[in-house]
Symmetry: C2
Subunit: 423 residues, 2 copies
């Protein structure tokens, strides 16, 4: 039985919520929208002006404004699909404005015949769709810092977004070129002015990668790779090369900047990890989360996201006492492999201090680690693949902040609530 306010889902619905107020005798009827014709039809809809604060937060290099990131505001979103306009970005030299009539994909190297695919030619090929969470390998890397970053969930973990991608299976294009024996890698290059280049094992390329033309039903947005993006389900975001122009089949990886000076991590024993492609099982509570405030005592729904590059999420547990006790959260439907799964659990807050956590398990049996365990295994020279349990400290005044409680000795239960260890 989980402690410190966590409830069984059935109790949640039986307790009565009572957040409404007694109705007035007469409904208000004097608002202008009730009596005045509304705005005309639009060809392409946009969010309400009242939601103009729900945006990607940009962290770009002042000296090189096209080099940086923008974050998905996970703490303001719901469900499992990320709005395309809020999908995170990582650019190295800005967003190229490509004319699709002048763009083509070259496939060459260790192949029987080098081929060029115009966009109209690619649109003739069979297509597949897949919904998955695309995550930057550097997402959540503030977690490696000695002190817990005090930032909203989306500005700490929001380099991950979940979309439906549709495109041509990469294996079809490679079959047409005829991969020669001895080939083991694909080197992919983008058409931005940075010339983004990565190496990808041929085995993955022949499995489930797509030459994506559509995202969430429509053609790609420019900042997501228009007109063509390599998508590599479940693997590091950097491999999902935008504005794809060049695929070279090779015997060896190219050892580009993003697989040598970056994406290589020094371990505590002096060895380095490289080509750590798969994104690990992960979860976080988005509501409540850092920066939110519980205004009143009573029932709350804890809600968050879980995902794994290795497959389907099978379980998410939540804790209100910093991981001493756990309760199973409810998973929304459908739970798709490598996609966001939304989890929910009821929580009764009567002013007690709490440390709120979630812990995800995937279908391979992998379990999201506590932060102390992850740091012990990887050291603090890493930068990528941070996926430890996230802890939000709920104070008696209702404020929610980020904490590293799970790195500290287990606190003793005390009185009405939980004696939060950061005090």
């Amino acid at each position: 039985m989980a402690a410190n306010g966590l409830l069984d889902r059935r109790l949640f619905l039986k307790r009565g919520l009572a957040f409404a107020t007694a109705a007035p005798l007469v409904a208000a009827a004097d608002e202008p929208w009730l009596t005045t014709p509304g705005a005309p039809f639009t060809n392409y809809g946009q969010p309400s002006p009242h939601e103009k604060g729900v945006v990607r937060w940009i962290s770009a290099n002042a000296a090189v404004p096209g080099n940086g990131i923008s974050w998905t505001p996970l703490h303001e979103l719901e469900g499992t699909i990320t709005p395309t306009g809020l999908h995170f970005e990582r650019h190295h030299n800005g967003v190229p404005q490509i004319d699709p009539a002048r763009h083509a994909l070259l496939v060459h190297g260790e192949v029987e015949r080098a081929l060029e695919f115009s966009m109209p030619a690619l649109l003739r090929y069979p297509r597949e769709s897949t919904i998955f969470a695309l995550e930057c390998g550097g997402n959540s890397n503030a977690g490696w810092q000695d002190k817990p970053i005090q930032a909203a969930a989306g500005y700490f973990h929001g380099l991950v977004s979940c979309s439906e991608w549709t495109g041509v299976p990469l294996r079809l294009v490679l079959a047409e070129a005829g991969v020669t024996s001895g080939a083991a890698w694909i080197v992919a290059e983008g058409a931005d002015a940075f010339g983004m280049t990565v190496s990808l094992p041929l085995e993955k390329a022949l499995d489930d990668c797509l030459l994506a033309l559509y995202q969430n039903g429509e053609r790609l947005r420019p900042e997501q790779g228009y007109p063509l993006r390599l998508v590599v389900p479940g693997w590091e975001g950097v491999l999902n090369v935008k504005w794809l122009r060049n695929l070279k089949v090779a015997r060896e990886p190219v050892m580009a900047r993003n697989e040598t000076s970056k994406y290589t991590e020094l371990m505590p024993d002096g060895r380095a990890r490289q080509f750590t492609f798969v994104m690990d099982v992960k979860s976080l509570l988005t509501s409540p989360s850092h920066g939110m405030h519980l205004d009143a005592h009573g029932l709350y729904e804890l809600s968050g996201l879980a995902w794994s590059g290795r497959g389907r999420i099978t379980k998410v547990e939540v804790s209100a006492d910093g991981g001493q006790t756990w309760a199973d959260a409810e998973l929304g439907h459908p739970v798709l492999p490598r996609a966001f799964a939304r989890f929910r659990a009821p929580f009764d807050w009567q002013g007690q201090r709490a440390v709120l956590q979630s812990r995800a398990t995937d279908e391979t049996g992998a379990v999201q680690p506590a932060r102390a365990a992850l740091v012990a295994a990887r050291g603090t020279q890493g930068y990528f693949h941070y996926h430890a349990i996230v802890s939000w400290a709920l104070a008696a005044d209702g404020t929610v902040t980020h904490t590293y409680v799970d790195a500290l000795p287990a606190p003793a239960a005390q009185g009405q609530g939980f004696d939060a260890p950061w005090e």
Copy 2:
């Protein structure tokens, strides 16, 4: 074995597609985007200027510009999720611009306690998400006309869109108000200047309806009901009241305009159908479809959408000879109840004339009817719930047009191809 060019999916992948061209010796490197820093980061992304033609097509009343519809361009989209900016619209007096701080939901009538829910109060309740295809009861009604309308697929069938909706289960709010015995209906009213009003059986309200706050991850767009919409999965779009302000629990339906002068259909035997809530099993090919042109002989992928308000799609068949022979199409994953299912099938076009069709079956065993059968059953005084098989005529010159071939005598097979009956 299906005739007239339909192929087995495995053959499709074995035949070799060969739409690429031999690669140039040197890749082009002189495009400006390869050498010049790109555009800066954006807080909220938009489509490429090269895709500016992919919009909702507006059919509004010239005298009352806020009364009309806009269509989802199904023929330009892929996958199963409709971009939120392209979700179809049906408005009666424009789009109200509602300040959420001044909006509330009143629940009253046959209840133990009348209640008012502010938006912050509603946001305290537990939430659920569901992905489903929301379809106007009048979608595809040009199909009732004597002659086949010559319009793109989206401007004929595009009053349907598929989204992930997230909100508070309506049953929770009704439980809190305490529905009294004898109540059997809910009367829902919107906060637009038309005062849109509909009646909904209480049984459905207590089943799976949501008070939706989010669509595809973000808060509702104004034209989709911001800040609150009633969503009624699988049932006529008109019931999904936008800008929801009023829920009256009642013993009888209110007999509003949209359930008496509209949404009531005269049948051939003189009786009328009323309260025909559930949307029937349906499908159409989106590629190719009316107005498209096959530029060259060779292999094509037929692709389209199937859905049913009654549950999951279990089978989609395609025909290239006007329904004389059928082949199973491949269904994309996942197939979710009441949501769009994407289907695909290979087609070898060597210049033969063809009538391309799709026929969907759902998990209740319901099969999409031929047009002649639907018209025989319902007559031509109907206006709603047209869901017959859609036929696209492919001519020898590669043009694709809409035809009613299935209402005509079955033609004889002839020569290389199929002798299309409209000639």
